[in-house]
């Protein structure tokens, strides 16, 4: 079983749309797929795959401090101990915790002379599992609003994904990753066999591409590149291709043209390759799918 992660650095480059089309195409070609959405901040893969997830279970992956006011003597020692500045002196009377800022590190519990503070696990997200209309399973995560530790939710989603993949005897786990290069992205990459980096011909995307490639390099995950909407700026695409080949020395697996069918298919919640299989973007995606079969599987 292989694991392919789809990332981009910059958001909105087309990760979810590409992942959705690839999962359907690869599944049709006989590769058994499990799709995983690890962008727990903005989980969109199930929408593109026209799947409504109803079966969610809660995850407790966040630590938060809470004060037992029957024990608190209001010495205020916890306030300076908290480097996250999550404890304040409420009306000069009792220390109060701002849960949005508390990281659950427990420094306050160490300085409290009356053991009035405890650290408890709280629910900070949920995992959903469903079967897509295309026959393969999808595992999707959702971070609760205002909660921290999205990296831990990602890890939980990925391990659930692997379990489902094993149970369904999958050949390939396709992970739709979050934007950026920080903690949830690193958590998403862990254990991946290779990465597909979706980018677009703009200077902003190039700068983000540079950053995501250096993170992939650090974790020794081989990367292949897809340039999305390449024809919106052919000259810049040429410049990018040159950079990708000479500076980063990575293979460009495919260039996908801008296609209004992409937007129309999205509004119908159907991957473009199902909506309009012969349009120019679908043809490029089909070719990408064939190359993935050869290069990655």
């Amino acid at each position: 079983m292989k694991e392919l992660i789809i990332v981009s650095g910059k958001g909105g480059a087309g990760k979810s749309s590409t992942t959705a089309s690839l999962s359907v195409l690869l599944n049709k070609s006989g590769t058994k797929i499990t799709a995983v959405d690890s962008d727990v901040d903005a989980p969109n893969l199930s929408i593109v795959l026209g799947t409504i997830i109803t079966n969610y279970s809660e995850i407790k992956a966040s630590d938060k401090a809470s004060i037992d006011y029957s024990k608190c003597i209001n010495c205020a020692k916890c306030i300076p101990a908290c480097k996250a500045e999550a404890i304040f002196d409420s009306k000069g009377e009792v220390p109060t915790i701002i849960p949005f800022l508390c990281e659950g590190c427990g420094a306050c519990t160490i300085v409290c002379p009356t053991d009035a503070i405890s650290i408890n696990k709280v629910v900070n997200g949920r995992i959903g599992i469903a079967k897509t209309p295309y026959g393969f399973p999808i595992v999707s995560g959702q971070l609760d609003m205002g909660e921290a530790n999205s990296g831990h939710i990602v890890t939980a989603v990925k391990s659930k994904g692997r379990k489902i993949a094993e149970e369904s005897d999958s050949d390939l786990i396709l992970v739709d990753g979050p934007p950026g290069i920080g903690c949830p992205v690193i958590a998403s990459m862990t254990g991946a066999d290779s990465a597909l980096v979706v980018t677009e011909p703009t200077q902003a995307a190039t700068s983000s591409l540079d950053r995501i490639l250096s993170v992939l390099e650090h974790f020794r995950i081989p990367a292949n590149i897809v340039i999305n909407r390449y024809d919106l700026n052919p000259e810049y695409t040429q410049h990018m291709e040159h950079l990708i080949k000479t500076k980063w020395k990575k293979p460009i697996l495919e260039k996908i043209p801008f296609d209004e069918n992409m937007l129309l298919s999205l509004s119908k919640r159907v991957p473009i390759t199902e909506y309009e299989p012969n349009c120019k973007a679908s043809q490029a995606l089909q070719s990408l799918s064939n190359k993935i079969l050869k290069v990655i599987l």
């Binding site: 958001g11 901040d41 590190c105 509004s267």
Partner: protein, 311 residues
Amino acid sequence: MKNEIFEAFNRKPIETPIIAITGGKGGTGKTTVAVNLTKALKSKGKRIMLVDTDVDSPTTGIVLGVKSKPVEKVKMFTPKIVEEKCTKCRKCVEACRAHALFQIAEKIPMLFEQLCSGCEACILACPHEAIAIGEKTVGTIHQSSNNEVTLISGELKPNEARSAQVVTATKNFSLKKTTNENFDIMVIDTPPGTHCNVVQSLRYADLAIAVTEPTPLGIYDLDLILQLADRLKIPTQVIINKADIPGHDKEGVFEVTKQHRTEVIAEVPFDKNLFKSAENGRPFIKKYSELKFSRAFMEVAESVLHQIIKH
């Protein structure tokens, strides 16, 4: 949750109005809106401090077309164990909830730096003052060299996970500068998503403008970011970007907006030229001032100014 918790969270350390540009989904046009709104406010005679807190992928400078130089390193605490003083009592290892400190047999504890959150609980737990303050660089704060608009942007060092620390440092740096140099308005270009970096970016904002696109994905993520802002008790407004794309579902946006008792203040049309404008590193509004796109931003600027005066 008690009201005073929200008051403590949102209590601004400065008086200057703060507008945060956010949106949930990536690529909806947060940076485009932040930069063009800044330009529009500037044209109305306001001095703007623009802050890029998308420390994972900082691109505001590119879209603004300015070159930035590093002005400060973002450093994080890491423990340094003083071997002569350490009695190997294990207290620091037990205190470290991130499991960054570990002890093999009866040896001096060791640090797995990648897991350290910099909370300093180990220092507090050590009875022998055997932990000294060490540090590591997790990011950099940059400042633009352009005179027209001041841009402060945070940049996470690649391979580091602690981006929230970089966001907080970038914000604190900008808040100080905004007061010291008498800026009129602070505009924050937030990261995508709803995680802790976004929470830190939205903190203190008088108004969060959520930029969305009229697709099922944009609408779903708009609902999430509005839920987050509601939870933090930060007032919101919505801009529909790429409002006229084929198959658009503006009704869906209006529905979510209504559910959250907020309003759409502008609809910005899609323009393929934007791709080239962004590539050239030149704000669109400046290059194509006569277009519908640019007029939309002038209207947003007027609406924002009106609200600030009302405050």
